[in-house]
Subunit: 516 residues, 2 copies
């Protein structure tokens, strides 16, 4: 048994059973090890952003880490943007990054760079394993780091000689022992209870551990007896929602709307979420979204026992018998005629299959989609947490691997989709049930909007050109087919409804270019 | 005038007249400034790897920096892999990276990360400009850093408020004053001359400043009177070659072949190149490619006056009147029949237009292409310098912007091409004369080869699957057309020759899927 094999055995022993991979020469011992060590499903990506985004999507749905397999510093670099999203989502991820042996690296060969330095801004844990005999312990430490609450990005650098060298030590995998989430102190619960009993207005800002079905029930009971509003951050990791679930408001993306939403809240209680802050800064607009007189209280940090804190708060409020508000099933009629965002939202709301997982990168087109689908069949909704563009197609790939029995629906923009279209190929290769709607408005509409936020009243020709992606128009149908996916085009609401039906029936990946 | 405008005015004043851009909200003041400050051509990329690779290609052909415009840490991250190639090519590049204002960044909004830390492993110069009034000096310093011999990657981080705030200081652009390359000491020249006069075998390893037409003439004269062999590193930035040029051997990529090439060299003289080192480490194979008894002498560092050192050495050897060997024009007959690498090389050799720029990422298919084209019409040849995959299509985009009167020919692999296919869209948008041949062998052939180098005699099913990209087969014709390029398919040598003619006649981007 060599280092690569004990690495794989340790990962699988600790529940890491999927590896999204784009390997190179220095990772060949690990690739060869896949044929010697059972239990690891390897999913190939043609680009590293697909690999890391898939690991993020897998983690959000499976609640456990996948591994990635990446090729030295540049391979890792290509995956960093989606690791940024994973880090912000608290997704557990174990990156395995090959490197030159130390004796080779000191000659500064062309591919060499400081991989630890590359990994560090996007990882909570970074380690270079020095030798084959250290790989069992280091792989277990990486899994433990990834599973450290609330979930972390762990980057394990594996020099090729550590991977190819036979073990001299005990060839047994090491068991990872991640810490449990810390309990929330009673004082934090009591303070929140006092706020909620005060008669003042209050909002609960729910982090990603709080927007799953069970903790949402608790939050809903709290809201039922106190009148508190339930909010999720604009870009949250996953919300379990739809008919029968406790509804949550999303903090609006536009700063003015977000400030208005929080403006009359005297108390904001953070439930595993950071204080509400604007996504971008603009001249003359605030960074903090809470009003100047608002009191912000942290009930639970993200690394603490967030569901436990909600349960304790519910009990402190005597709300154990309360019946929370739940969304009713509201399926709109299928729309017809010219496409508008509202009609797209209605088509979506009517069509979402039970238990669908929606990956939303629809940016400007999709501003109303969450509201539109509040009464759809039960589903999960996933958003880009770190603002790195190009997350949805990869994230969907990983979510589909994690949830083979659920339909994945991607709400994609034609601008955002072009950062990582390679994900469609992996979806086709693995025959994943992913339906992607690409909203083709042929421009970076958000930047048109942001130009005016930056004080530019009439964009000049240069600014218009840099926000125009319609010359040439990207043919998403041809692009999807080139990569092995089925594809359709919809230019009216009727066509969209029919294409959604057809796409859902494909049984593998399908893309609908929604021509706006 | 605001910070963004003085930034643009300073860049253009200092000869930075092209900006490859993928901007976001925090860069909108710069985008708006393009309509206020004349002289900057902005070229949009749909993905940041296209942007940075284009800046690399532009620099290799224009010998001056382009700017990039990138969106915070994740946008920069997507461009790092091609910055790695640029850094290894000594390409001058000025990255302009937007950031949040400091007052906003301290709230840790979703997109925030440590941009300086992200930039540093791939930049020789990193600075965050603190305010609008510092942007003239900082932009000039960035250009000076980029133009510091032999060429560097400079990353200037521009917080949005520095960009949008009106100047209070003198609104005049600052002139960049890069240092001149240091002269090479006479002792280094004398030592090299003694080696070359000793009667021992010698090789000159020529770095990127030494493989242009004029310094190659000098090296050719030195070789003519001393019998020294002329080598370029396996992955060098640019070689000026073809009929009439002094021929240079390329250090072979396979370690055994490289060791054999240097095995009988008693002296290796480095001319702005690092000592020859294997690209990867393999069990039982050396890192250094020079023999154990070889003396390695540095005539000139890359940051010194490399052409001046060659001239001094030529004069010290009294070779001023020598006539160097020059490649003769040898245009093979157009091949016919089934495709082989040799026939592809012959088709290429026969077809390369005068003054073409070849961007080579053909990996395994193209091992013989440099030799095959040694007698083609005069041209330049560009290789991936840092081993980051996905450089060729972006690099070609930048080279075409730098050289609108030359034809760019990309030799691409179907694996490598899938890292940054978005470059085809920019080529179509800008109507760049880029002909791309995609060698579609439907696998990562180099990894199949490397598995055996790693001691795996028979790849198992998992290893075969991870090196197979034929399921589904990527349709490069559909992909290219989806992105606005013309496209052809060639399955025989006859078809290839006809497709090359047709592709060269397009006048914009064209792609040939060469089905192997």
């Amino acid at each position: 048994m060599n280092g690569a094999q004990i690495l794989l055995a340790t990962l699988t022993r600790n529940g890491v059973e999927v590896c999204f991979a784009n390997p190179g020469t220095s990772e060949m011992p690990v690739v060869a090890g896949l044929d010697e060590v059972p239990g690891m499903r390897c999913v190939l990506g043609l680009f590293e952003g697909v690999v890391t985004g898939a690991a993020d999507g897998y983690a959000r749905m499976a609640d456990r880490p996948a591994a990635t397999l990446l090729h030295l510093g540049p391979g890792l670099a290509n995956g960093l943007a989606n690791l940024h999203n994973a880090r912000r989502a608290h997704s557990p991820v174990v990156n395995v990054i090959g490197d030159h042996p130390g004796y080779h690296r000191r000659h500064d060969p062309p591919l060499a760079c400081d991989i630890e330095a590359v990994a560090r801004p996007f990882s909570q844990w970074v380690r270079t394993s020095p030798a084959a005999d250290s790989l069992a312990a280091d792989a277990a430490a990486a899994v433990a780091a990834a599973r450290t609450p609330p979930g972390q990005v762990a980057s394990l650098i594996v020099p090729a000689d550590a991977a190819w060298t036979p073990l001299t030590a005990d060839p047994s995998p090491v068991t990872a022992v991640p810490p449990a989430p810390a309990p929330v102190p009673g004082a934090a619960v009591d303070a929140a209870a006092r706020m909620l009993r005060s008669g003042e207005t209050a909002a609960l800002l729910l982090g990603p551990q709080a927007t799953r079905e069970a903790p949402l029930e608790l939050a809903g009971q709290i809201a039922a007896v106190t009148g508190a509003r339930l909010y999720a951050p604009t870009h949250t990791a996953r919300i379990t929602r739809g008919a029968g679930r406790v509804p949550v408001r999303r903090v609006p993306y536009p700063v003015d709307q977000a400030v208005a939403a929080f403006g009359d809240m005297q108390n904001i209680i953070l439930v595993g979420a950071p204080p509400p802050v604007a996504f971008f800064a603009y001249p003359g607009k605030p960074s903090r979204l809470s009003g100047p007189g608002a009191r912000v209280h942290e009930l639970a940090r993200a690394d603490q026992d967030v569901p436990g804190a909600l349960a304790a708060l519910r009990d402190a409020l005597g709300a154990g018998g309360a019946v929370p508000e739940r969304a009713g099933l509201r399926l709109p009629a299928r729309p017809a005629g010219a496409l508008t965002p509202g009609k797209i939202g209605a088509a979506l709301a009517a069509s979402l299959p039970e238990n669908a997982v929606v990956i939303d990168e629809s940016i400007t087109t999709g501003r109303s989609f969450l509201a539109d689908t509040a009464g759809s069949r039960p589903h999960d909704w996933i958003l880009a947490t770190g603002g790195s563009i190009g997350y949805a197609l990869p994230c969907a790939t990983g979510a589909a691997v994690a949830c083979p029995d659920r339909t994945i629906v991607v709400l994609e923009s034609d601008g955002s989709g072009m950062y990582t279209p390679q994900a469609l190929w992996t979806q086709a290769r693995e025959q994943l049930s992913v339906l992607t709607l690409v909203f083709a408005n042929r421009r970076y509409q958000i930047l048109r909007d942001e130009l005016s936020n930056a004080g530019v009243t009439a964009a000049g020709p240069a600014a218009r050109a840099l926000t125009d992606i319609g010359n040439p128009a990207i043919d998403w149908v041809a692009l999807a087919r080139a990569l092995g996916a089925e594809a359709f085009r919809a230019a009216t609401a009727d066509e969209l409804a029919r294409c959604i039906d057809a796409g859902l029936a494909v049984g593998g990946p399908a893309v609908i270019e929604v021509t706006l």
